[in-house]
């Protein structure tokens, strides 16, 4: 036993001596290699010491334990690798690789002297047993890493690096993640280099065959491995999906870059004249000074917008530069999807940012206010669809066509609730109201049938539009095809059953109601009970709606009809009217004649402040092509609004500081609207009293 131990210690000493010698050798080598020996050697002693200690431990503690070479290393078991052996192995590997790459002559000379030395150092690492503690092997042998990164100057060099490369994964028994990735990258890079070189050589060979004694140096010396691809290669590359994706992405970036109108290099000291010109009204504008309305941009895509009507528009609540437009079908393209939604970017004029489609005309579409990637839509076939901007153009979810759900066109959808609990609400023209969970559209969570409180000819109500007040997700108004606007409850409450509230109806319109809009409630005065409605009877009406709870306290005969506060008769059918999100008295309307009108009831209740028509497309249809269907304000700033209609063009307008924008809002505006409402109410009450008297 004693003898054995002594022998071991003897061997140990010999080994230590050998290690020391190796270390010196390496130090000398690295010193020669990089010229800064001090910082390169510094890390190595630590490792050697550690190794010594570990091997000492192993020799003292576990003599039955096999030497670590067998444990997890690629080196053959039992044979303690000497430098000669490993060198032989490596050169054999190298020649394998070299023969692959058609350069056998260079293989023999490949592993140069310093390289062998470094691999020896690597081999000795194997000898330490895998330490019980997880150690991070840091690559302190700078001789390997620093030099590897330099681009290969000669072919032999690249090959001589390879054997090391093959060893590395085994050596780093516990590599940090980053390290292994870097190694993989490096490996990949090396492979690529070899591939390039093979290609180059093939090329040279081909050229030699073709007979042209080419000055090969021209190609080889250049770092740019330029060579034309063959037809086949070109086709293979350009037909790949990857290349298609690349084209899609990169052209989008380029177009955005080129559409950026502002020139960052503008020198204003040189541009005084043209700046003054800019003050003059250029382009399509209306109104004067601070009440100006100006057309900013129009969106039209020859391929997808053509011959489709814009059925709805919505600005993204998260990205104010994005807006979506939904379209009906193109009658002359039966193979295209009937309904499409295009998401336009105000920085990308010629093409939509996203394109989504559906099998039926899309009648309404909306960004989810709670999730910037989701878009919901309602179709003529009665489906409610959900698209995701991260997914493909087909809807990610859709409601069933048969069974539960809608079987009539859905003209109105909305998402109500809060960030964490919200539902899609849809209403179809047969009076069906469905509540859906955003996560599951296969079945409605709630279903409600709206029926006419006073059946005359039909029991059904045909809702064309629906509006929720900001405060209450259980109460809403529906505008009907018959003309009245009905208040509805989603659930039973005191004095009223779920469905249409039978006690009150807002009667005034004589034709289908096209839009109902609650006043947006941000301001010092609560005007949330003001409702604006537009109708095909050539009018826009302003209503003051009763609070849903108040109706139960006032004893009223069933079927009280309430009259509008204000009746604005226009010159054509009015398709849409929308409150400004920031100005209390400002709203916009669009009509069948193709005009966009901006009103401010705190200033004027008889005529619009500004009236403008979008620029007609040159090749557009002449007859009946001007009608505008929808108008939408951008909600966060309230400066821009978008319109669209039969013309299939979406036009974006910007209003002056007196009509939009948050900065110039004065408290007086709110109070003056409040006063106006009070005055109108008094006048209405007076008129009613006069009528009864």
């Amino acid at each position: 036993m004693d003898k054995q131990r002594r022998d071991e210690i003897q061997a140990k000493r010999a080994k230590l001596a050998e290690l020391k010698r190796q270390r010196e050798l390496r130090a000398k080598d690295t010193g020669r290699g990089s010229g800064s020996p001090s910082d390169l050697i510094a890390p190595t002693p630590g490792r050697d010491n550690r190794k010594d200690i570990e091997s000492l431990i192993s020799s003292l503690v576990g003599d039955s334990r096999p030497v670590s070479t067998g444990a997890s290393s690629p080196v053959p078991k039992g044979s303690r690798p000497t430098s000669v052996l490993s060198g032989g192995e490596l050169s054999a590997e190298a020649s394998d690789l070299a023969s692959q790459s058609q350069a056998p002559g260079q293989a023999a000379a490949a592993p140069s002297q310093p390289q062998v030395l470094t691999t020896v150092a690597l081999q000795t690492v194997y000898e330490c047993p895998p330490s019980p503690v997880k150690e991070v092997v840091t690559y302190s042998t700078a001789a390997q890493t620093t030099e590897d990164w330099a681009p290969p100057t000669s072919r032999g060099r690249a090959f001589s690096e390879l054997p090391e490369e093959d060893d590395l994964p085994g050596v780093t028994s516990t590599p940090s993640k980053r390290q292994s990735r870097r190694e993989r990258d490096r490996e990949e890079e090396l492979r690529q280099k070899i591939r390039d070189e093979i290609e180059e050589e093939l090329l040279e060979a081909r050229e030699r065959l073709q007979g042209g004694p080419l000055s090969g140096g021209a190609v080889n010396t250049s770092n740019f491995p330029a060579r034309a691809l063959t037809d086949e290669e070109l086709n293979a590359v350009t037909a790949s999906d990857e290349f298609f994706d690349f084209v899609e992405r990169s052209t989008k970036v380029i177009e955005r870059a080129l559409d950026q109108e502002y020139d960052v290099l503008t020198d204003y000291t040189l541009q005084i004249q043209s700046l003054e010109d800019d003050e003059e009204q250029t382009g399509n504008t209306a109104g004067k000074g601070r009440r100006r309305v100006k057309e900013v941009v129009q969106f039209y895509d020859e391929r997808w917008s053509k011959k489709r009507m814009v059925s709805s528009i919505d600005f993204s609540p998260k990205f104010p530069e994005l807006l979506l437009a939904s379209y009906t079908k193109n009658p002359s393209a039966p193979h295209d999807p009937d309904g499409i939604v295009q998401v336009w970017n105000s920085h990308l004029h010629d093409r939509p940012e996203f394109l989504f489609h559906a099998q039926s005309d899309i009648l309404t579409a909306k960004f989810s206010p709670f999730h910037p990637n989701l878009i919901i839509g309602g179709t003529y076939s009665g489906q409610v669809l959900l698209w995701d901007t991260r997914a493909k153009s087909a809807p990610v979810q859709k409601t069933p066509l048969t069974g539960t759900g809608h079987s009539h066109p859905v003209y109105s959808v909305d998402i109500v609730g809060t960030q964490n609990a919200n539902n899609i609400i849809s209403v179809s023209t047969d009076g069906q109201l469905c509540v859906w969970s955003v996560d599951m559209l296969s079945q409605p969570q709630e279903q409600l049938t709206l029926t006419n409180p006073h059946p005359s000819k039909f029991d059904d109500v045909a809702p064309t539009t629906m509006a929720f007040p900001a405060a209450d997700p259980t109460y809403f108004l529906v505008g009907s095809e018959e003309g009245p606007i009905y208040p509805c409850h989603r659930y039973d409450r005191a004095g009223a059953k779920a469905g249409i509230d039978t006690r009150v109806a807002y009667k005034g319109h004589a034709a289908p109601v096209m839009s109902v809009a609650f006043h947006p409630p941000r301001g010092p005065v609560d005007l949330g009970d003001l409702v604006l409605s537009s109708s095909l009877d050539w009018s826009v009406k302003l209503w003051k709606v009763r609070a849903p709870a108040a109706t139960s306290t006032v004893v009223e005969s069933a079927g009280t009809s309430i009259h509008p506060l204000l009746d604005l008769v226009r010159e054509d059918v009015v398709y849409d009217a929308a409150w400004s999100p920031v100005r209390p008295g400002v709203f916009a309307l669009v009509d069948g004649a193709g005009s966009l009108e901006i009103w401010d009831i705190s200033v004027e209740t008889e005529i619009p402040i500004a009236k403008i028509s979008p620029t007609a497309r040159k090749e557009g249809r002449q007859l009946l092509s001007k009608s505008l269907n929808k108008v939408v304000w951008e909600a966060s700033e309230g400066k821009r609004l978008a319109t669209g209609g039969i013309d299939s063009t979406v036009s974006v307008f910007e209003v002056g500081p007196d009509l939009g924008g948050k900065d110039g809002v004065r408290a007086e505006e709110w109070t003056s609207v409040k006063k106006l409402v009070a005055r109108l109410e008094a006048a209405g009450a007076g008129a009613a009293a006069g009528a009864t008297a």
């Binding site: 390039d196 770092n223 740019f224 063959t230 290349f243 177009e255 870059a257 080129l258 999807p337 493909k392």
Partner: protein, 143 residues
Amino acid sequence: MADKTIPSNGTDPMDEALHRLSRKPGVKAWIMLDRSTGAVLKSNGQISSIRPAKSANSDTALPTPTGGSFSTDVTANTDNESQAAQELGSMVWGFMSTAGSLVQEIDTEDELKLLRLRTKKQELVIVPEPKYILVVVHDTPPA
């Protein structure tokens, strides 16, 4: 592959995108390169007008397979155009590598995303993607 499911109207969406790019006001030319090798994949526009090919003689010209390797828009003077595209491509590729190594030097985790090279006469917009590179040369608004 966002649009693969949509029946196309006879026009390839990729061609459409490229044509739209060519039609954009101010765009003089574009070249698509392979990122790893620098080989010209597609090109369009009057590249020789931006920078005429230096070596017009065929001795030093890189081997170009006969016919069809370039986008069909280039019909006249194909040899010269392709030569110019090759050369411009190689210059851009070199520039890209330098810029890429600069980015790597600053932060190894970082990545080059877009290069806009503005000159007095024109602007080069370079979009480096993992496998390919798109280079667009366009006129800048007169400053």
